[in-house]
Assembly symmetry: C2
Homo-oligomer: 303 residues x 2
């Protein structure tokens, strides 16, 4: 989901996009899984909505989690990524359980109380009024259902080794994410899920807060994060998609991708800075002792 | 475990102490529990060592986890806290399964290959040469056994709301923790568990890395963290212990505890700064929308 009104948002969207295909209910849904399983036990014909589904990897994983009788709608405002979603669902063998709809998280095209669960991951950090989107998500959730939201908190990111190039990169991305000014989503979104949810009119007693982590330490994961994400690159080539930058993670994003282009255009980083960042990520990805971790804020809202 | 050679270390030890009684295998041992259960299935008469056990709350929880046939040794360099440990074990009904020994993590008083599992939590951040302690822990572990280590990474701490008083507090504690200079434990210990373990001579293939979180969002938990920790205060009074500062968490630590005293003595914070910090914690603890989270680095080493 890309509200690309300002360049800062475009940078953060582009950066996040290349990693979104890694998401599954197993690695990003532990905080809601017990509640989802309870709902499924009570009614196997669950209806789910995945807000800001991108190209639908998490939507497909949700479809597997609800089982063959469940149905999942993926919604996104970006038609380009949405166009890839049916192919992703087909490859995951859940094509008959999912549908994809073009739409706006601020104005969900559904009546009140339509879904048993509404899911949203790494979307609100790109939005100006995340509480309005949360209000909409609660509106379309059935009484007895849940809204499950997860957002990264970039400012919590820790990395080893602490090279200057990686610190510069962190600062660049955080600056870009915060470019809209304070009040909405940004590099500290994870910790704001609770205040945003209260601001959406929900009561504290309806909200369960948790904090999870996202980390990379194995050679395979570090190669994906720091270097080039081969599996998705291949899938893009197969799908004949031309926006090559989406297939690249940190080093490639900086060196040849949209992050680098926009950083230079806005003056947020020089060519030398970018080369230092890219080299630092390449070094990081090949070291034995390196790792990276980040906190993700999580809320489950009981409707 | 308090290597109170320098005042910075004393600050961080004092701060951590009041929260150590909250630790259990359930909230701080998920990363090693599957491996511990496998070891227990193969041999119910497990021998465990808890390095830097403090007053033994985690030692007692480990004793419950290994079951009635297991045995756990708690070791600490601080005789004052160690003196409380037998009472803690007695109250947890595991007195016959545990023993407590005064000793140094750098020179563990055991032959090679004595234990099935060696556990260590929130200890290495206070040490100058954590890799030497890891080397010792691996030495006393049996082939086929494990070493399980968890360390907070204070620099990853995120808090809402982002009040200046809380930022000042964070800076004070981080400065105190890093007072020994770089190279050893400090406010970025969590991310250094992997390099420290490699530096101890272990191979990358023996090490499993994970990152967990520690967070506070409920009124009860925030009251404990931000204000005064009543349950342990009561237990200290019952135990007729006089070092009152141990019973207080953030606000009280700043206002009347050792953190405040040392901060003033070292010039790290003025009286006004300290009052601002204490008020900020009190406000934080009573707000509906506040929370705090921190990353903990984790390694399991296969011997």
């Amino acid at each position: 989901m890309a509200h690309t009104k300002i360049e800062g948002e475009a940078v953060s969207s582009a950066l996040c996009s290349s990693l979104h295909e890694l998401r599954t209910v197993g690695n990003s849904g532990k905080y809601f899984l017990p509640r989802l399983n309870s709902l499924k036990e009570a009614n196997p014909k669950l209806k789910l909505l995945d807000v800001g589904c991108g190209w639908g990897h998490m939507t497909a994983s949700l479809a597997k989690a609800v089982g063959p009788e469940g149905h999942v709608v993926g919604l996104d405002i970006n038609e380009d990524t949405l166009a890839l979603a049916p192919e992703v669902a087909k490859r995951a063998d859940v094509a008959d359980q999912v549908e994809f709809i073009h739409g706006d998280a601020y104005k969900l095209p559904f009546p009140d109380a339509t879904f048993d669960m509404v899911h949203c991951h790494q979307v609100l950090c790109h939005m100006e009024k995340p509480w309005d989107a949360i209000c909409e998500m609660a509106r379309v959730t059935k009484p007895g259902g849940i809204v499950a939201i997860r957002e990264g908190d970039l400012d919590s990111e820790i990395v080893w080794p602490q090279e200057p190039g990686l610190a510069k990169f962190h600062k660049l991305i955080a600056t870009a994410m915060n470019a809209r000014g304070r009040g909405g989503g940004g590099a500290d979104s994870g910790r704001q899920l609770l205040p945003w949810t209260l601001n959406a009119g929900l009561k504290r007693s309806q909200i369960t807060v948790s904090y999870g982590t996202w980390w990379f330490d194995t050679p395979e994961d570090k190669d994906r994060w720091g270097m080039l994400e081969i599996p998705f690159l291949e899938s893009l080539i197969l799908l004949k998609v031309t926006n090559f930058f989406l297939a690249k993670a940190m080093a490639a994003q900086v060196r040849g991708g949209m992050v680098g282009e926009i950083a230079k255009k806005t003056g947020l980083a020089s060519g030398n800075d970018l080369e230092e960042m890219a080299s630092a990520w390449e070094d990081w990805a090949t070291r034995e002792d390196s790792s990276l971790a980040m906190i993700h804020g999580e809320v489950v809202i009981e409707k």
